[in-house]
C-alpha cells in the first residue's frame, strides 16, 4: 500500500532523509526506531505533506497514487493519518467543530454523504469509548491546555474518527504513563484490520509490547540501516544504539 523508494528530503538545504526505502503492505505493523535526530519525525512529516521539507529525490506511492503530488489534506483524505509527536494547541477552534469539518471533508472526497449532527455525535460517542477520552476535553478548544497524555489520547481519538488506511504514530508513547500507554495501544489495536497498516515511530521497546510489530527498522542519519522482526527491538532495548552507530559509521569510513 505504501512504497517508498530512495527518498531524499532536506530542510533549507540540510539533507535529513538520505535515501529511504520502505514497503508497507495492508495488515502490517512496522516499527521505526532510532536515536534522537535520526530523521524519524522528518519521515513522518514528509509522508504527511509538510511543506517546509523539500523532497529532492525518490518516489512515494500510496495505494497506487503518487503521494508526493498530493496536498496534505488530500493525503489525509486518501487515508494517511499522522499522529503528531507534538500535537499543536489551537485556541479558539472547537475540537468538535474541527472534527466534524474534517470528517465531512474526508467523506466528501470519498464521495460519501456528509454526516448530520446526530450521526456525527453518535460516531463521536462510540469512538470516545474506544480511547477512553473524556467528553470534557472535546468541548474545549483543540488541544488547548491539554496535558501531554491528553494530547496523545486526542490524536488516537482523531485517528479513530477518521479511520485511516495508514496510520503513522510519531512517538505517541512518549510522555504517557503505563495506563495511558495501554489505553492508547488498545485503541490502536482495535482499529487494526487486514486492510490497514500502521507505522509506529518510537525509541522505546515498551510500546511494542502492546502494539506488536511485524517489522522493526532502525533509522540512523536519514537511512534505514537495519531491518528485522520484533526481536530486533528487544536487542536494541538491551544493547542501545551504539553498536548500530558503530556498524554504520565504521562502514562508511
Amino acid at each position: 500500500m505504501l512504497s517508498i523508494k530512495n527518498l531524499h528530503a532536506n530542510i533549507e538545504g540540510t539533507e535529513i532523509l538520505r535515501g529511504i526505502n520502505l514497503e508497507v503492505k495492508p495488515g502490517e505493523v512496522h516499527a521505526i526506531m532510532g536515536p534522537n535526530g535520526s530523521g524519524k519525525s522528518t519521515l513522518a512529516s514528509v509522508l504527511a505533506g509538510r511543506e517546509e521539507y523539500e523532497v529532492s529525490e525518490g518516489e512515494v506511492s500510496f495505494l497506487g497514487k503518487d503521494l508526493l503530488d498530493l496536498s496534505p489534506e488530500d493525503r489525509a483524505r486518501e487515508g494517511i493519518f499522522l499522529a503528531f509527536q507534538y500535537p499543536v494547541e489551537i485556541p479558539g477552534v472547537s475540537s468538535t467543530n474541527f472534527l466534524k469539518t474534517a470528517v465531512n471533508q474526508v467523506r466528501e472526497y470519498r464521495g460519501q454523504e456528509p454526516l448530520d449532527a446526530v450521526s456525527f455525535l453518535s460516531l463521536m460517542k462510540s469512538k470516545m469509548g474506544l480511547v477512553e477520552i473524556d467528553q470534557k476535553l472535546l468541548s474545549r478548544s483543540l488541544n488547548e491546555g491539554f496535558s501531554g497524555g491528553e494530547k496523545k489520547r486526542n490524536e488516537i481519538f482523531q485517528m479513530a474518527m477518521l479511520e485511516p488506511k495508514l496510520a503513522i504514530l510519531d512517538e505517541t508513547d512518549s510522555g504517557l504513563d503505563i495506563d495511558a500507554l495501554r489505553i492508547v495501544a488498545n485503541g490502536v489495536n482495535k482499529l487494526k484490520s487486514a486492510d490497514n497498516a500502521t507505522i509506529v515511530v518510537t525509541h522505546y521497546q515498551r510500546l511494542l509490547d502492546y502494539i506488536v510489530p511485524d517489522y522493526v527498522h532502525v533509522l540512523y542519519k536519514g537511512r534505514i540501516v537495519k531491518s528485522g522482526t520484533k526481536e530486533l527491538a528487544l536487542e536494541l532495548e538491551e544493547k542501545g544504539y551504539d553498536w548500530i552507530k558503530e556498524e554504520v559509521d565504521g562502514a562508511t569510513v
Binding site: 504527511a48 505533506g49 509538510r50 511543506e51 517546509e52 496536498s71 496534505p72 489534506e73 493525503r75 489525509a76 483524505r77 493519518f81 499522522l82 503528531f84 500535537p87 499543536v88 489551537i90 485556541p91 479558539g92 477552534v93 467543530n97 474541527f98 472534527l99 469539518t101 474534517a102 470528517v103 471533508q105 474526508v106 472526497y109 478548544s141 482523531q158 477518521l162
Partner: protein
C-alpha cells in the same frame, strides 16, 4: 479650493443661520467655528493623523464639506444589512439628518430631535460637554454643521427593553453628512445601541458623525458599530463617553469595508468603580484603510479598562491602531489592559500600531501588548493533516483569532450577524 482652506473661510459658514440657536448652543457653535478657523483640518503628517491623510483623501475625492441634502432613500437601501431577528427601536438618518419616516421606535423611548432653538435641561448640561471642538477638527466640523441633534435620554432605573439602532443612510454625492447624537442617562439605567452606515456599492461620501454618551452612576450601556460601507466611503467619527461612578460601558466595533475610516473613541472614567470595555475587530481587504484611535482617561481610583483590538489585513489594506491610556495621579488601584493583535495575510497589507501609556499613579496594574504576524503555519498543517482543506483550515484559524473580540456581544441576533459577516469575510463557510 483646498479643503483646509475651504474649512477656514467665512464663505464656508455662509449657509448657516445660527441666529436662532439658544444661547448655550450658540456659544458651543461659536467655539467650534473659531477652533476650525484657527486650526483648519489636519495637515499632512500631523501627529494624530500621521498614518491617515484624511484631508488629502477628502481633497482627492473632491468632497464638499457642505452638509448634504436629504435624498430619496430607495426601498432596497432600507433593506440593506438588516440584522435578522433583531427587534430594535430604529432611528434613521438621511445623509446625517434625522428621518422621521424611516424611524420607528417605542413611544416609551425618550427621543428628542433638538434643532437648537430651545434646550431641555439635560441637553444643555451634556451637549458639547465631552466632545471638545479644540481637541479635533472633526469634532469642530460636526459641531458647526450638524443641523439637529438626536437626543436619547434614559431615566433613572430605566432599562431599555430593546436595543436602539441608528441607521445612517448615505447617498452618492461626494458631500458630507454630520449625524449628531447625544445619549444621556440617570442612575441605574441600562441600554444597548447599535450603529450602521448604509450605502450602495460605489457611493462616494464623507460622513463625520459624533456621538456623546453620558453614563450616570451605576448605569450599564453598550455601543456597537458595524462598518460595512462602500469601498469609496470616507468617514471620521467620534464616540465620546463620560462615565460616572460604578458605571459600565462597553463598545464593540466591527470594521469590514470602507475607503478611509477613522474611528475616535474617547472614554473618561470620572468616578471610582467604573469599567470601560473597548473591543474592535477590523477584517480588511482591497484598499480599505481603517484607523482606530482610542483613549481612556482614568481620572478616579478603582476603575478597570479592558481593551482588545484585533485585525486581519489582506490585499493592500491598511490598519492603524493607537491606544492611549492615561492614569491620573489620584487614580490608584487602576487596572488597565490593552491588547492589539494583527495578522497580515498579504505582503502589501500594513499595520501601524502604537500603545501610548501615561501613568502618574503608582499603585496600578497596567499591561499592554501588540503583536503582528502571519497565520500560524504549524496549526495550519495540523488541520490539513486531518483532511481539512487549506481554505477551510485558514478560515478556521482566522475565525478563531477573531472570535473573542465579539464573543461578549450580548444581543444574540447582532452577535450572529457579526459572526456571519466575519465568516463571510474570512471565507469560513466550511
Amino acid at each position: 479650493m483646498e479643503l483646509t482652506q475651504q474649512a477656514q473661510t467665512a464663505e464656508f459658514f455662509k449657509r448657516l443661520n445660527p441666529n436662532k440657536l439658544a444661547q448655550n448652543r450658540l456659544d458651543i457653535f461659536n467655539q467650534a467655528k473659531e477652533a476650525l478657523i484657527k486650526n483648519g483640518l489636519p495637515k499632512l503628517k500631523e501627529e494624530e493623523y500621521k498614518f491617515t491623510a484624511i484631508t488629502k483623501t477628502l481633497d482627492k475625492a473632491k468632497v464638499s464639506l457642505l452638509p448634504a441634502e436629504k435624498f430619496d432613500i430607495s426601498a432596497s437601501l432600507t433593506r440593506k444589512e438588516v440584522i435578522a431577528d433583531l427587534d430594535a427601536d430604529i432611528i434613521a438618518f438621511n445623509n446625517g439628518v434625522y428621518d422621521a419616516n424611516l424611524s420607528s421606535y417605542s413611544p416609551s423611548l425618550n427621543v428628542n430631535v433638538e434643532d437648537g432653538s430651545t434646550e431641555t435641561a439635560s441637553f444643555k448640561k451634556h451637549f458639547g460637554s465631552y466632545a471638545k471642538a479644540d481637541k479635533d477638527a472633526f469634532i469642530a466640523l460636526n459641531t458647526v454643521y450638524a443641523k439637529e441633534v438626536v437626543h436619547i435620554h434614559l431615566a433613572k432605573k430605566e432599562v431599555l427593553t430593546k436595543p436602539v439602532i441608528f441607521r445612517y443612510y448615505q447617498s452618492n454625492n461626494q458631500e458630507t453628512s454630520y449625524p449628531r447624537v447625544l445619549i444621556t442617562s440617570e442612575e441605574f439605567a441600562e441600554g444597548a445601541f447599535i450603529e450602521q452606515i448604509i450605502s450602495e456599492e460605489g457611493s462616494g461620501y464623507f460622513i463625520n458623525g459624533l456621538t456623546e454618551i453620558y453614563c450616570a452612576e451605576n448605569t450599564h450601556l453598550q455601543y456597537h458599530k458595524v462598518q460595512k460601507q462602500s469601498k469609496e466611503a470616507i468617514e471620521v467619527n467620534t464616540l465620546e463617553v463620560f462615565q460616572e461612578k460604578s458605571s459600565t460601558f462597553s463598545s464593540y466595533l466591527l470594521s469590514l469595508q470602507g475607503g478611509m475610516l477613522r474611528n475616535n473613541l474617547n472614554i473618561t472614567l470620572n468616578g471610582s468603580g467604573g469599567e470601560a470595555n473597548m473591543n474592535g475587530l477590523y477584517l480588511l481587504n482591497g484598499q480599505s484603510h481603517v484607523d482606530n484611535h482610542t483613549s481612556v482617561d482614568h481620572r478616579e481610583p478603582h476603575c478597570n479598562s479592558n481593551e482588545l483590538y484585533k485585525g486581519v489585513l489582506d490585499d493592500s489594506s491598511r490598519g492603524v491602531f493607537n491606544g492611549k491610556i492615561y492614569v491620573r495621579r489620584i487614580a490608584q488601584k487602576t487596572n488597565a489592559f490593552q491588547q492589539n493583535n494583527n495578522i497580515l495575510l498579504s505582503e502589501d497589507a500594513t499595520i501601524n500600531t502604537k500603545p501610548q501609556l501615561e501613568i502618574w499613579a503608582d499603585d496600578v496594574k497596567c499591561s499592554h501588548g501588540c503583536t503582528t504576524g502571519q497565520l500560524d503555519e504549524e496549526a495550519l498543517f495540523y488541520l490539513q493533516a486531518r483532511g481539512v482543506g487549506k481554505v477551510s483550515a485558514r478560515a478556521m484559524l482566522l475565525e478563531a483569532f477573531a472570535a473573542d473580540v465579539i464573543a461578549n456581544v450580548s444581543i444574540d441576533s447582532l452577535r450572529n450577524y457579526m459572526i456571519d459577516n466575519i465568516k463571510e469575510r474570512l471565507g469560513a463557510h466550511y
